[in-house]
């Protein structure tokens, strides 16, 4: 398994500003992902964070809005840019140790409220 921490755990932000969320894993992992859980809805994959290259975004999500970094095998950041109230969500980092038949482990999430 993997132990994942996220910072911040929660934040309240003003419209038009940006927030960077950090995800730290206690061991090297192959796959890292970012999900969003909007109020009353399920988890939606934003992107796969690729080490040493650009993230792979899902339909409906773009790099300008959600830039992602992954400098090494244990750390990633997600930035929510130019925020609006519609960005109020829980943002979750998840990891899989390897590609293939693998369990994903989830971080505690970052609860974001945009005013």
């Amino acid at each position: 398994s993997a132990v994942i921490s996220q910072k911040p755990s929660r934040d309240i932000c003003q419209r038009g500003t940006s927030l960077t969320i950090q995800c730290q894993v206690d061991s090297q992992v192959t796959m890292m992902f970012w999900y969003r859980q909007q109020p009353g809805q399920s988890l939606t994959l934003i992107a796969t964070a690729n080490q040493g290259s650009e993230a792979t975004y899902e339909s409906g999500f773009v790099i300008d809005k959600f830039p992602i970094s992954r400098p090494n095998l244990t750390f990633s950041t997600l930035t929510v840019s130019n925020m609006s109230p519609e960005d109020s969500s829980i943002y979750l980092c998840s990891v899989a140790l390897r590609v293939g038949r693998e369990t994903q482990y989830f971080g505690p999430g970052t609860r974001l409220l945009v005013l």
Partner: protein
């Protein structure tokens, strides 16, 4: 695109009652199947998973799930629930060879009353 349906959004049971939560998915190829649980104030945890083999899988805390390929279903069961099972339950699916990306159902909020 793949989708996952969970039929029950809110379930209320008394302790010792039996539980079955439905999950259906739309993808026709080979899939890996998961149930995750989120207890109040905690993060998502894996309850059980199916990759291949015996379609009846057992997970933690007495939960089990059965994969029925012909019905595209992966229902979660527990013969006797406890108050501590109060939580939100998510079914999730990924395509074998699809890069581990998970598609989640909408979740079922289970409340167990004493």
């Amino acid at each position: 695109a793949q989708s996952v349906s969970q039929h029950n959004h809110h379930v209320i049971l008394s302790e010792a009652a039996s539980l079955e939560l439905g999950c259906n998915y739309s993808y026709g190829g080979t899939v890996n199947l998961f149930w995750y649980v989120q207890y109040p104030g905690q993060h998502l945890q894996l309850l059980l998973k199916y990759f291949s083999g015996d379609p009846l899988v057992k997970g933690i805390k007495g939960f089990e799930a059965e994969f029925i390929k012909s019905k595209f279903s992966f229902n979660l069961r527990k013969p006797s629930v406890q108050w501590s099972d109060t939580a939100e339950y998510f079914c999730a699916v990924n395509e074998a060879g699809g890069g581990n990306k998970l598609t989640f159902g909408t979740g079922t909020q289970l409340k167990v009353e004493l």
